[in-house]
Amino acid sequence: MKKIFCTVRSSFLMILILIALLPVASAQADSKKYKRTVERYSLPDVTLVNQDGKRVRLQTLLSGDAPVVVDFIYGTCTTICPVLSAGYLNLQNKLAAKGLKPRLISITIDPEHDTPYVMKKYLKRYRSRPGWDFLTGSRADIDAVMKGFNAYIPDKMSHYPLNLIRSPIDGKWVRLFGIMSSREFLAEYQSVEEN
């Protein structure tokens, strides 16, 4: 008898909890924890090297009729890069479920260490799908790209979480500073895609 009472009370408690916390949850969902701006960038015409060792012209890679997402990471990074990369993977998985393949670019901020071999292993470790490229290059070129995105940092240990999404329509970039939930990231991506 006591057990049944306990189960009933458990269910009651759960409902109570849900009711009590729902407004909090929805309020939290509305308050973005990241900063969003729309920017226009003048980017250098540089040739970088991808995880397959192929030389790729950055401007060619960024152009096209689909949104492009860019972030800055490095192969042995802790804290931020794994979180950004988990975000990329989740976006790939969510869009793959709809038969879509987003174009994702990670640019290293540790070009001396991040060789194609290191980058390929990194992508494999995160179980990335095709469509996610990891780029390295000369330090001068990488610095120029960071400066082009107003994201220059003098040392990789000072970096911060940043995602950039390029609109294929007007070439403007949505700049997202901070860590997004995968739902927020997807919404940001789709808002660029739909506009």
């Binding site: 408690l13 794994p82 000072s158 970096h159």
Partner: protein, 601 residues
Amino acid sequence: MHVLDCDSICCLNNLYGAVNLVLTWRHTIGAKFIMNRIQFSILLLVTLLLSSFSTFGYAAELLPVDLPKAEIIRLGERMYRDGILPSGAPLTAFIRGDVEVDSSAFSCSSCHMRAGLGSVEGGVVTPPTTGNKLYQPYLRPSSLDDIPDRTGRYVYAKTVSERPAYTRDSLATALRFGTDPAGQVFNDVMPRYPLSDSDMSILIAYLEELSSGYSPGATLEVFAFATIITDDVSPADRAALLQPLQTFINGVNEQMDMYDKFIYFNYTPTIDMKNAFRRATLDIWELKGALETWPRQLADYAAKKPVFAVLGGISNRDWQPIHNFCEAQRLPCLFPITDYPVISESSWYSYYFNKGFYQEGEAVARYLNRDSDLPASSRILQIVQDSPAGKTLASGFNTSWSQLEHPDVTSLSFSAQQLRDTTNLYRVIKQYKPAIILLWSDDSPTSELPELLTSLAAPARIFVSSSYLGAKTLSIPDAARAGVFMTYPYRLTPFTGTKEGADSKVPILASAKDFGKRRITTRTITMLMQSALQGLRRLQDNLYRDYMLDVMSMQMDQVSLDYERLSFGPGQRYISKGCYIIQLGKGSEPALIPRSDWVVH
């Protein structure tokens, strides 16, 4: 919540257990089972509420796991370092609510570091996670870093300014739900781990053991160090190594004498000062005879007097036995002078300046990979002197060439005597008709190089190692210099001082006089600046070998006299990543002409 009777608590505990069960079950099922958003929200809400209950001490008690302690530590270490659960499945977690992450890509130690004392990187301050630290109240000292952008380091996420001590149960709540004992919610970069009670108990037992006792060779009063010298090293090279080391040890102890005098005259030191001064001793571990006997000799030295770290060292022979010993003993071995570092992606305790001869071979592969005139691999002939240097250069080239997805080149091994006989060389050239020769030798006559070049097909190039050739590099005749390319793993741009400011500001230029110089003293000074200034001085009272390595791995890039750039990162153990491909200008004091960047991709 404060008026709950014991029945309610019983119900909550049942509920709590049920949630755990669901999470564990969900985890075990893995990717096959995907919770919908409503299910996930319900779980999250329930768990949030339960976390607040646990704050008031109502959570189920976390019981120890019934396994031998050594097994618990082994399993806990695997969870902490590799993100693998005791079941062998990857540890999954959630960031920012719904970003699911797999901890085999990054684990606890990625951010909290191997010693568990945390890190500062990417503007994220990761707090310590050892039992010692967690079970005490925490008060963050105010810091200049509280001012944003003071040094260009944007502090994105700081630790809380204050929290009460954790208990085992509140720690379990923190790991599951991201709230500390005061109910403060963690930053989003900290994943939330839906661990079962037994897995949680194992992980917490590991955290309690982590960095729980000082490493051998260190006390609050004194650091014991050693350096390693093998019996093949010349007296001059030995002196070049020991001079800066002795100066360093004397300097440290003189500082300590001065500090003792301050104390004697009633000066009250700050805590920082107390931790800044510590005496140091240096033992010389001399290794004699056959390589096979080195591990025993090292073990005897270490047993006689344990040391905190091996500061540098020098050998002309294989470094592998020393490397293996340091790895097995978890003993930091910092920047020895060797051309034969062990090439490993997983070794932890040995730091090297670079990969030695191996890196020079790699540089040639990367350079050729970018060569617009590159002939087929079948037109590249690798001639390898049957020596450790020759083999290591070839190994670096072959591995890198293969990673760059080129077919193997033909490699021929010759003794020094065979290489002195040039008819032998012409015979193989006639046979293989190469366009490019990689000549990993210090015994083939450089006077023959012009003739050799004319016997090659276009584009007719010969690659050599300037480190291997040493002073003989200068004997390459002017007539051959247009066709001979060489590796040069040192700085070419003028050196005007490091950021530490301890060097001359008068630019020092690289020149042909550098060929053959082993740079023992300058590199040992760099080692000391690295180990002592960047590692030891930041230890405070955390006298753990792993922590010193953690601190060293998280530092900003440095410039040094010998290398263009030294760069770091968790797990990176070869700090100079570059090697130029150069050519010589004409004359007896030729210009060193770079034909590549410092780092080639």
